[in-house]
Structures are given as structure tokens and as C-alpha cells.
């Protein structure tokens, strides 16, 4: 009876990435790197293959500058151990900071 949960669990993914195959996705990594590219392959460990990859790098002084410091990387294998976020490229947009308080005087 105590072994039942071990048998059923196996290595089920809570999220199916196959629906993103051949679609552009955005990936964020530990360490602050971000990249986007067309998803060409993945495995249960979340290693990814991206094609036409663009990397966006964060400048420490410029906070979050998207257009500065991008570079083309082409065909890339992304390590699943470093991935912290995956989302579709058209599922996100940059917005002005909603937390800034208006300072008067």
C-alpha cells in the first residue's frame, strides 16, 4: 500500500510543452538571462532546443532594458536546470511600472 504512489507517479510533466513546438517562446533563466526563440524540442528535464534564438541581457545600471544588449544566437540548447520560466512570446507584453506612486511637491 505505501508503494502505490511511487508506481503511479513516474515522471509525469505538469505541463505539456508539445503545444509550443514550432512556436516562439520566451525563456527566463537563473542568473537573470532571458532568451526567446522557436521551440524545436524539449525533454522531461526541461532541457530545450530553441531555433533563431535571441538573448536579452540585463544591464545592472539600466535595470531592465530590453532593446539594449540583444544578440542572435541561432540554434541553442537550453539547460533545464537553469530554466525558471517559459511562456509564449505573444503571451506577454511590457507595461509601465504599475507600482510607481505619484510624488507631488
Amino acid at each position: 500500500a505505501p508503494f502505490r504512489s511511487q508506481e503511479k507517479k513516474k515522471k509525469e510533466s505538469i505541463f505539456d510543452l508539445s503545444k509550443y513546438i514550432d512556436k516562439p517562446i520566451r525563456v527566463k533563466f537563473q542568473g537573470g538571462r532571458e532568451a526567446s526563440g522557436v521551440l524545436k524540442g524539449f525533454d522531461p528535464l526541461l532541457n530545450l532546443v530553441l531555433d533563431g534564438t535571441i538573448e536579452y541581457m540585463r544591464d545592472p545600471d539600466d535595470q531592465y532594458k530590453l532593446t539594449e544588449d540583444t544578440r542572435q544566437l541561432g540554434l541553442v540548447v537550453c539547460r533545464g536546470t537553469a530554466v525558471v520560466l517559459i511562456c509564449p512570446q505573444d503571451g506577454m507584453e511590457a507595461i509601465p511600472n504599475p507600482f510607481i506612486q505619484q510624488q507631488d511637491g
Partner: protein, 86 residues
């Protein structure tokens, strides 16, 4: 560039053995070298290695012979990559 999706991602890295590969770490460091091999944890053995530090805008060390690169901090692997500009 057509990619065979039925292969695993690490098979793609395996195809790169013997040729140049560009490794991007989690921090601002990048390594370019000839891939000799790797293991299940993607620790990598490379030779004719050049190490780049991106923020100070310059090339750091050129190491010959072989290095064992700890896979713990690897973010991206770029087969056939030549490394960053400059």
C-alpha cells in the same frame, strides 16, 4: 535550419562532439572550445578553450589542453558558436 524533434536535446549536443561549441554560463561568463565529451549532468570536457568575461568587455584567458567544465552553471549551449563579438 531543420531540426529533428524526435531526437533528445542531449543527442543534439552529442552530435557536436569534435566540433566547436559555445557555452553560456548563468553569470556573465562564456566558454568556447572543442567539445570532447559530456556526461548525464552535462559536465563537459573541452579543449583549446577561450574564456570570455562579458561585462568588462574583453577576452579573459585562453587555455589550451583540456578543461572539465562544471555543468552546474551552464545556461545555454550553442553548437558551432564562435563566442561573443570582440
Amino acid at each position: 535550419m531543420a531540426v529533428d524533434c524526435t531526437r533528445t536535446n542531449l543527442e543534439l549536443v552529442d552530435k557536436c562532439i569534435g566540433s566547436r561549441i559555445h557555452i553560456v554560463m548563468k553569470n556573465d561568463k562564456e566558454i568556447v572550445g572543442t567539445l570532447l565529451g559530456f556526461d548525464d549532468f552535462v559536465n563537459m570536457v573541452l579543449e583549446d578553450v577561450t574564456e570570455f568575461e562579458i561585462t568588462p568587455e574583453g577576452r579573459r584567458i585562453t587555455k589550451l589542453d583540456q578543461i572539465l567544465l562544471n555543468g552546474n552553471n551552464i545556461t545555454m549551449l550553442i553548437p558551432g558558436g564562435e563566442g561573443p563579438e570582440v
